[in-house]
Subunit: 301 residues, 2 copies
Amino acid sequence: MNDQQLKSFIVAAEEGSLSKAAARSYVSVPSFSQRIQTLERELGFALFARSAQGVTLTPAGESFLQTARTVVSVYEDGLARAVSLARNRVRVGHLSNEPFPSFFPGLINYFARSFPDIEVVFRFAAESTWVEGVRDGLSDVCFATPPSDDATFENLRFTHLFDDPVYLCVSPASPVADCTEVGHGALDGATVYIQPDYRGLPSFEALFALAEEGATVVEAEFSKELIMRVVMEGHGVIPLPGQYFASCCPPLAPVRLSGDTIDQGVIYRADASQPVLDFVACAERYFQEEGSALLATGWAR
Amino acid sequence: MNDQQLKSFIVAAEEGSLSKAAARSYVSVPSFSQRIQTLERELGFALFARSAQGVTLTPAGESFLQTARTVVSVYEDGLARAVSLARNRVRVGHLSNEPFPSFFPGLINYFARSFPDIEVVFRFAAESTWVEGVRDGLSDVCFATPPSDDATFENLRFTHLFDDPVYLCVSPASPVADCTEVGHGALDGATVYIQPDYRGLPSFEALFALAEEGATVVEAEFSKELIMRVVMEGHGVIPLPGQYFASCCPPLAPVRLSGDTIDQGVIYRADASQPVLDFVACAERYFQEEGSALLATGWAR
DNA sequence: AGGTTTTACGGTAGTCGTAACGATA
DNA sequence: TATCGTTACGACTACCGTAAAACCT
């Protein structure tokens, strides 16, 4: 068994054809056929039934396909983890469909100055939450609010970095657009779009409760399109943590929503490597030194 | 990556020495060294730090060792599962430290006559319960009582085979040794050894409750040594399902404990292959046709 | 005829074992 | 000096690509 055989087998099973799989793998058809034959000989049973239309999995092949997929993914994840250990690498996990928090560039620069030999890599992926990627060893750290449930937080640590104020995404035509700070009362009668993930955050609890006071609360996924609709068409209001407000809404003036701030920090494994601990400590220092200055001058702009 | 490299790496890590690992793998030292070097070159980082005393894992190597172990075990388990599918094989799981139920030989013969092309393989292993081996795909079927918790029984099926009477293992010197059947009252004041696994079985609930009526109830692992002590030294009584009584206690006369019988059957995966379903159906038929005869003539002997 | 998989064959690259070498206690 | 890991080299095996064959629709 080797990884080439397993990957070839997976591709062949997906394509249902050795010639198509060979083309996708950039090798000649006979060589590809030989790989499968060698694998079958080593395993001791046929993976495919051949025909002039292509190949179809045997029952045993179907079972072994699951195994091959698991082996390949375990191997590749483990390899990435080991490489990041060997190379003094910190893998920062981030969801591919969300914007970059506005403090990323400054923090990365600060860290690079302090630890020039440690490499920072961003890992964009589609886990349902960043925390899962860290828990499963796919990333080393992620930026998040402290987790509410203890189950997924097993063997993970949270370090507080800063308290993030909440800003409102509103149309420039809105009467509150010129205010620098408003209270919850300003949202009476408005339509408020809230990211479902924010349920459970103390500073958003009051917002979800607005529904009982005349406001229309809509749970909607965070997206550029939604923000543009709100801004351009004046449909409603989107409350956002300051870090996201800055990267999402550059043309808008920041309207601070008074009330609680959001506890923002980093999540990492309890058995994290030294570079990861260095990264966390450095991030903590960065926000202690410059965080308040960033907040005061309005990093939300 | 190939399995030979991974296994070599695991052996080297276990031995802490390339020469010892090479000897254990029956290859020359240079070849073995080359395998590790090739693997390290492919991975892109060093697995070991070398010295004149041997080799020690680097941090990255330590991380990759876990990956290698997982990959090898996933691969080998998956291979066994696929092979059993390809070869019309039914793998019967059985704990290596427990005796064979007395009906095994008869059932296997019956099945072999009905399905001569299906191979039956016994898998002896040390899962904490047989059910886990079936759930994880390491075995296809196991003989057991119906599971009490639904959590581990997800995607598993249970088929009833027979109702097993409970027999007592007692010293021949005991006053009840000559009885063919006794009630629970005969156990007053006696020391009763019960397998902890039997907790939860309806027919054993009353036995565990005996502790409140003057009997001494000891939870003890089922073993030949325990049975011999009880038999030879007259320490107490061991209630056993009939199938185990016969294989454990050949010199003893069966003393039937009146009361409930034990629901015995087979456990197998909901997505079991045809040979496994054949095996289950055949076992069901076997006990319908011959089970009552076995019971009547005292298979406990 | 156009698609599929397979066999045949020469060249390249990898793997093994023996022998010799370098490093360390 | 004894033990450990590495390098050097010849023999063997495995893999790849080209060319040609066998097969089905």
